[in-house]
Amino acid sequence: MVVEMKDAIKRYNGRVLALDYLSLEVNRGEVVGLLGPNGAGKTTAINAIVGLLNLDEGMIKVFGEDQSTKNRPLKKRIGLVTQEVTVYEELSAYENLRFFGSIYGLRGEQLERRIHEVAKLIGLEDRIKDIPKKYSGGMKRRLNIGCALLHEPELIIMDEPTVGIDPQSRNYILEFVKTLAKDANTSIIYTSHYIEEVQAISDKVYIIDQGHIIAKGTVKELISKMKGDQIVSISVKNHNVDSLKSLKALPDVKEVTFDEDTYQIIIEAGASILDKILVLLTKEIITNVNHQEATLEDVFLMLTGKSLRDGGSSD
């Protein structure tokens, strides 16, 4: 097992419970998606896994070794792709890759070989001599990922690696993550506010809320939790704040959210209440009604009662 976290407890300032008996496992070559609203404990869990903080209680083993801030040798086997782009803007991509490779002890021919391999992998081999200031957001993100790959880590943690980039670069990164796990047998922990990304690449998903795991399993297993539930999306023009409360009060309605101009309503299996819903929304101009299959986002919504993308970008 690559990561084994059991009953992890972490308090901040002795009071705020960031991790509350959190347990998770990551196996070799597995892509594990970590989902949770703001303040759920994702970043704390990640920080404990990479050795940036120590747990107050519980156990965490990485590659079978106890992880802590003092376990420096273990750090050579882990790569962290930070949420913010953390490359030196004044150094070229080549120099950035060289710096991060050197920090992990790569030297000489081995370092040169890895720089060129990684540059090719992230699609920057033609622009390797340029400074990141000349790059697009997507290229900077790719360089950010590249800097965590130089030392061929067996475990990579990607914390929101696609924030603020174009769809083309996002697809590139997602394909790249899948290839990395499949071809190099690398284990990847992936967090994102884009649930469809997690759904597309993860072998296993953990949903965290208030410091503990509220659901885990493959995407299929999680979606099966919604089996039979109906999801109705209703787009409106003039949103009435009171409607949300009224909809939630309807019998057979499991969850309701309003995002931008659309109500997302999860209804119990077999219930037939669409007419009641439409009556409640008579004060609003309905532009679209859609009945859809459950997605991971719906599972998340049902379990946490929150829409992930509304929750901001970090916890």
């Binding site: 920080n47 940036l52 420096r72 962290l80 949420q83 004044e90 150094l91």
Partner: protein, 243 residues
Amino acid sequence: MVDLVIRFYSLRVLKDIVGHVMLIGLPLLLITIMIALNEPHVPEEEFNNLVLFIGLAYTIMFQGFGAAYTSEGIENDFFKPFKSRLLVTPINPMRYVLMTLSTSIVLSFLQSTLLILYLMVVYQITINNVLGVLAALFLGVVLSQLLASLFIFLTKKAGTTQAIITVYLIAGMMVGGFFFSLPTSDLVVFLEKFSSPLAWVRYAAYGFIDGDVTRILVGMGLLSLGIVIVGLFSYRLSQKVLK
């Protein structure tokens, strides 16, 4: 690992053209202007002293600005998201900070040396015991850099650190009589000599120039003591920040 940090930090600094202009070009320009403005008002035999007075004042002042510049580097590496990226690597963060500071000390000292050489070459002045003067300037650089590191570890913000250093430099130089002559009283004379580390550097430097052993010992002693005290505080604070 040691040479790695020095190499890459130097590379980052060397690529910062604006930084060079501010820390080398600006003092050269200011020294040149101030000498040109004051030259007509002093007798020829006092020209050497004038150049030395102005040159040393600006050299010491820009050591402070050099230190403020270093705080930006430390902020970037240890107070922004970079902190996580560096702390997950096998590098020893304490060593990283020490190497960054050492590199900054060397670069800032080279800047001071360049300014002194400018005075000697362009204005043809003689500086008695120039190596001693450079030694005083070196201790001044070390203390300035440590002060900047202390402030950045304390405030966690380069902007605040730079504001503190700027106020400290202006106040220290005014009270120390770097900008203009102060009325002669025992208190003012005392402040001119000992009011701040800036004054200590000048006190020690003139001790070397005048061959005054007592002034050398007191000036260098104060600077060394300052380095030890500020260094210890900075070390303790950095341990808290980097843990």
